[in-house]
Subunit: 334 residues, 2 copies
């Protein structure tokens, strides 16, 4: 990335004005700058984000996850089309640290949401590339702010149901949606522990054909299970529903639940409280990653850590002593 | 703590020999040194822990949690007495960052486990005090190693069902036990999200008298709920049982399940793998805490962070920019 020279960059104000005007071409070009790893682009990106900041935030941010095969693209296409019909402007972003720009494992191929991609009121942006989840999350987070400033009032952020990316998406959205399949247990093993407890809504997708009965059984099982979960701070009790994205059944219901949720948390103050908390946490996540980078970014440190790991496993050094020892070395290196 | 001078400390070897001999008095004094915040004691503690390290580890480590009122002390007393009768030596430790040495909110008052406390084969140690959870966890972790070196082959580490302490206990034990009460939902709200998914076994306590029927219903509900949880890496499916600690019913069953678990994870290699992983993670947790301490320990930084938090909430600065800005200042301070 660092080897090519960006052609014809505009001045920051041009991107800012374009984004605020809802100009899709300039929005896309501004996002490209956010995703760029060039130092000159980083300065430009910071200026753009800083300027559009007061115009961001006026949206509902919905996180969507589920294991591969659950029908995420089909669901998002159906859900996005429904929202556009209701008069919304929808931006669809994704967090996927494993994706390459060229591959775009989930959304890179816009043909998977062909109908939605052709609408003026929908904006689909494939996952940005990046070495670290933190870096990718920053880019997606800032892209979200830009989309909001450009007038998109529903932001869908999807992620694959593996790794730490759900936590990142959960940390930047207002409502967290988990797509599942019926089939009692087995397929669940692809979902990481703790994800289910983050969900505000569980949608059993592909509830069609021979699958309808099983989906209803699954719905009841999940309802019973969620019932015994600790109550969320939002005061919202997670709901379970079934949907058939291909037949467009159960899609409007998802939006109804999101709307109910929004009414509740706006009334009880959780909406603003949670957003403020997320923004502040975003800063701290960045700080902590930078601190770690200062330490773990050193080759001398990492090779020493590898040796310490071995010594710990063979009981030659205690974990506490090992930590103190390497931190001392680090401090003395300044 | 830093103001008093420890009287008559012995040389390290005296504690080491005493611990390895299973001498309870010297074990207690060695633990006091581990818990001490005096610099001279810290050096002594490191020497002791380092020396007994190869003799540690020969135990099953059981984490026990549950909200206040669930009957933890009574359960641990009944469970401990059962284990001693089976020929085990049992050490009972706790992690409770909120406790003061003098208060010892859970275990400080040994009279709550009167019968057990009088047995030679049981060793009860109240929670150590400390400013940070990391600090307390270090002390409890090293106390555990000492107890193992002194011949205790079952370690029970309890924690209250609030805060981050469960994660700390889960991170240093082989088997995680969650005590609950029947009553469908309400009382669960005291349990933090994610705790239930960490449990290897769920025991519905106080299943006696009028409560028997409700406990059986709760057992079935939890069994159904756990069924849909993602499978743990250990290959173990969490079990649910009922118990009446006061009537000594269902206590031996808990040990049977722990034993089954141990047989399974020793055979499939998870026992050793998990222990190694925990030890290494223990080092990294300490490193990361030290790194944070270097940064957040500075008064100048914390007052600036308070201002940045305000600026973020009022959209005057983006979280990413705020983080970069303060990290730059930190780097330039060296």
């Amino acid at each position: 990335m660092k080897n090519y020279k960006p052609k014809n960059r505009l001045v920051a104000q041009a991107y800012i004005d374009g984004v605020l005007d809802g100009d899709r071409v300039l929005l896309s070009r501004a996002i490209t700058i956010i995703e760029s790893n060039l130092d000159s682009d980083k300065i430009l990106a910071k200026e753009i984000v800083q300027s559009i900041l007061p115009s961001s935030g006026k949206s509902i941010r919905i996180g969507i996850t589920g294991v591969p095969g659950v029908g995420k693209s089909t669901f998002i296409e159906a859900f996005g089309l429904y929202l556009v019909k209701q008069g919304h402007k929808v931006a669809i972003l994704s967090i996927d640290p494993s994706s390459q720009r060229t591959k775009g494992s989930i959304l890179g191929d816009k043909t998977r949401m062909e109908e939605l991609a052709n609408l003026e009121e929908a904006y689909i942006r494939p996952s940005s590339s990046g070495d670290t989840l933190g870096g990718v999350a920053n880019k997606t987070g800032e892209t979200m702010l830009l989309c909001e400033a450009a007038g998109y009032d529903v932001i869908l952020i999807e992620t694959v149901g593996v790794g730490q990316s759900e936590t990142a998406v959960h940390g930047m959205t207002d409502f967290f949606l988990l797509l599942m399949l019926s089939g009692a247990g087995d397929e669940l093993q692809g979902i990481k522990k703790g994800i289910m407890e983050m969900a505000d809504m569980l949608v059993i997708n592909k509830a069609d054909g021979d699958n309808i009965t099983n989906s209803k059984i699954a719905k009841r099982q999940y309802q019973n299970a969620l019932h015994i979960f600790p109550l969320s701070e939002s005061g919202w009790s997670p709901v379970v529903s079934t949907a058939s994205s291909t037949n467009n059944i159960g899609i409007s219901n998802v939006w109804d639940e999101v709307s109910k949720y929004k009414t509740l948390v706006e009334a009880n103050g959780y909406f603003v409280k949670n957003r403020n908390h997320q923004q502040i946490k975003w800063m701290y996540n960045n700080i902590n990653e930078e601190l770690k980078q200062m330490f773990y970014g050193s080759k001398r440190i990492t090779s020493e850590l590898a040796q310490l790991e071995k010594d710990i496993v063979s009981s030659e050094i205690s974990p506490v002593k090992a930590a103190l020892q390497i931190i001392e070395k680090f401090k003395n290196s300044f």
